[in-house]
Amino acid sequence: DTAVSQTPKYLVTQMGNDKSIKCEQNLGHDTMYWYKQDSKKFLKIMFSYNNKELIINETVPNRFSPKSPDKAHLNLHINSLELGDSAVYFCASSQRGRAAGELFFGEGSRLTVL
C-alpha cells in the first residue's frame, strides 16, 4: 500500500483553467503539506494543515487553496492557472511532536500549463 498517494501524476492544461490535485495518506498522520518543486528542483513549502489550523506560506498566491475533507486527505485547488504554475507538486504528511520533521512524500504531480 502506498503511504502517501497523489493523483493525477501528470496534468497538462491550458492557461486560465481551474484544476485540482488530490492527496491521501494512510499513515494516520495528523499534519499534511503541499510543496512545489520548480524546474531547478528547488522545493518550497506552500501549506501545512492539521485538523486545527492551516498555515499558509505568504508567498503563495491566493489562486491556490488547500481543501481537507478529512484528516487523511488534503487536496490542492488551483484557479486561473498561469504559465508559472508549471511545476511538480508534492504532497507530504508527518506526525506532530518528535517526528514532525520526518515527512513522508507522495511521488509528485507534474503540472504543465500551456
Partner: protein, 110 residues
C-alpha cells in the same frame, strides 16, 4: 526566515569513490533532516540530527551536525549507482513544515 545553502550544487563521482555534501544554515539548527530524491520520484527521509556534534549512519551514508549547530555534512563511502539522485537538507521553517536547501545533484559514473 531560515535559509539553507548546499554545496556543491552538483557532483559527478566515479563509482567506488567517497564524497561529501555540505549544508550550511543562516541560523542555529534545532533539527536538521537529510532527504534523498530519485529522479522523477518523491523524497525519502534519510536521517535526522538534533544535537551538536551528533553523527548518524545508515548503510554507507553518514551525516554529522557540527557543534555550533549551523552546518551539517553528508558523507557517502564507496559510492554506488544506487546513491545517485538529489540530496536535500531540511530544517524546521515557516508554515510549520521543513525549509529545504536547493539540493545537490549526485551522479555516479560506472
Amino acid at each position: 526566515s531560515q535559509e539553507l545553502e548546499q554545496s556543491p550544487q552538483s557532483l559527478i563521482v566515479q563509482e567506488g569513490k567517497n564524497l561529501t555534501i555540505n549544508c550550511t544554515s543562516s541560523k542555529t539548527l534545532y533539527g536538521l533532516y537529510w532527504y534523498k530524491q530519485k529522479y522523477g520520484e518523491g523524497l525519502i527521509f534519510l536521517m535526522m540530527l538534533q544535537k551538536g556534534g551528533e553523527e548518524k549512519s545508515h548503510e554507507k551514508i553518514t551525516a554529522k551536525l557540527d557543534e555550533k549547530k549551523q552546518q551539517s555534512s553528508l558523507h557517502i563511502t564507496a559510492s554506488q549507482p544506487s546513491h545517485a539522485g538529489i540530496y536535500l537538507c531540511g530544517a524546521a521553517g515557516g508554515a510549520d513544515g521543513l525549509t529545504f536547501g536547493k539540493g545537490t545533484h549526485l551522479i555516479i559514473q560506472p
